[in-house]
Amino acid sequence: MSGVEERSEMLTERTDRKPPGAGERPRLAVRVKPAQMAAGVAAVLAFPPLGLVAAWGLFRAHRLGRTDPSAAIKLRNKSARLAMHSFGIGATIYALLFVYALLATNDYAVSRAFLDLEVLKNTLPMVLDGFVLNIQLFLTAEVFILLCGTLLAMLRTLPGRPAALIRWLTAAYIDVFRGLPSIVVILIVVYGLKRTNLPLVNDLSDFWYVVIALTLHYSAYTAEVIKGGTEAVHWSQTAASRSLGLSHGQTMRFVILPQAMRNMFAPLLNYFIGLQKDTSLVTVIGLLDAVNQANIQAINQSSLSAFTAAALCFLAITIPLTRLADYLSVRRRRRELARG
């Protein structure tokens, strides 16, 4: 007996057991999916008033599954959506309660320590003063990072056997600096370079030492992003460009990099955000940035609310940048979908 016949016989057997009037085609019993059951349980735990309604709906859909599949599917999907809603509402309530509890325990100890509005008002101007240094460091370092990162990426992707040594050297550089914590690089550069008496770099201000350290560190990451972005451009673009007589460098500049740029914005922005936060590491070498100012104010005013002021400064920059990075990657995905 062939496989097809075997199968069709099994199907007829199953239809035979169906209640009369179920139609010619065999219909499967409607099942509540595991994820929907999980949502039901979560809904009951998080927000019982709605959660129980949803769970009851799922249960009834399960019972209905044998007799009236289409009604069962309708009820099941509706209940699963309700379960997800209840879970969300419950989770929000719990989160708010948790924050309130945190602030209110021990007679509002936490809120007095971190949210003393009087202290916040007094310290914010000085912390903001310090924050100017963070911004300056961020912007200055970023320029050098983009320049060095691009250069490193270009060296890293030079074609041909004679360039193997150059590729290897840049790869080694990138591996080393990606592997080091940025604070170690800052300490080595600031305390190390100052004592070397090397020409050019021995009488720079601490600001420039930090810029050098951050550039050394972040250009390695940036180079990887740029390299990845150029490699994501399909090789047929290189073939087309080279076949027209353009050199490797011209191909990079006019054909590959402009297209790679779109892939690079979002990941680069993420590293910018990391850099922005890492500027606060200058506290360890005694520069008066926002965090260091906050530290001093916290001691003077004996209130930790000064740190809250510093936190607010950073969040004011990093949250919009994070949203922008997210928006850019969503937009890129949408465009790719539209094109494909």
Binding site: A240, S243, L244, G245, L246, Q250, F254, Q259
Partner: protein, 253 residues
Amino acid sequence: MAYVEIRDLYKSYGGTPVLTGLTLDIEEHEVVCLIGPSGCGKSTLLRCLNALEPIDGGRVLVEGQDIWADDGDTDQLRMRVGIVFQQYNLFPHMNVLDNITLAPRRVLGMRRREAEAVARELLARVRLEDKAAEHPDRLSGGQQQRIAIARALAMQPRVLLLDEVTSALDPEIVGEVLELIGELAADGMTLVLATHEMSFARDVADRVVFLSAGNVVEQGPPERILTAPEDERTRQFLHRVLAARPGAVTGGP
């Protein structure tokens, strides 16, 4: 001396031989069609002629000069040999005019106005003069392929390699590209085509070359190769093509 001479060409990808000692001459003003089953090395051969692929053995001579020789200028020689790809490979971030003028400006050092004048002439030739400002993704496949041909012609190549240029196109727009290629052939352009369009090969080719397993099996005028092949492999190939698409060889339905 033929314009392009291929001598004993070897090429393999990661140990798999693709071209196995292939020898072929291409004369000026000749239209040569390469036919053969998938994987027989047609596309690889074209990419080797344009120096897009390093070769493992043998020589490729253009105007008597080895394109890989140390004393030859690979970029100079590859400019004499233009190539058009199956997937068009237009630059998606540039409009049509910039696609065509990029190489003339950057490689030949033409001024923008001069290059654009040439580009507009070429656009008129491929009958797309109104698309100069469009981006490639706004054009149909047939239009993109005609732009790609114009882009290759802008470098004034002596030979144009066409790598299955109609294979990615919808059947109803294949005609507009083939028509353009026919015009180029009539103008005396040296063409080397890898193609599956047997009836087109019969119409435009001066010579049909049948490749199998990375080598030339037989070659000759289209009438002889397509209707009375001598080699068993050619017969089998044509038989399969004919079975898949009746009328493909004779041109009639």
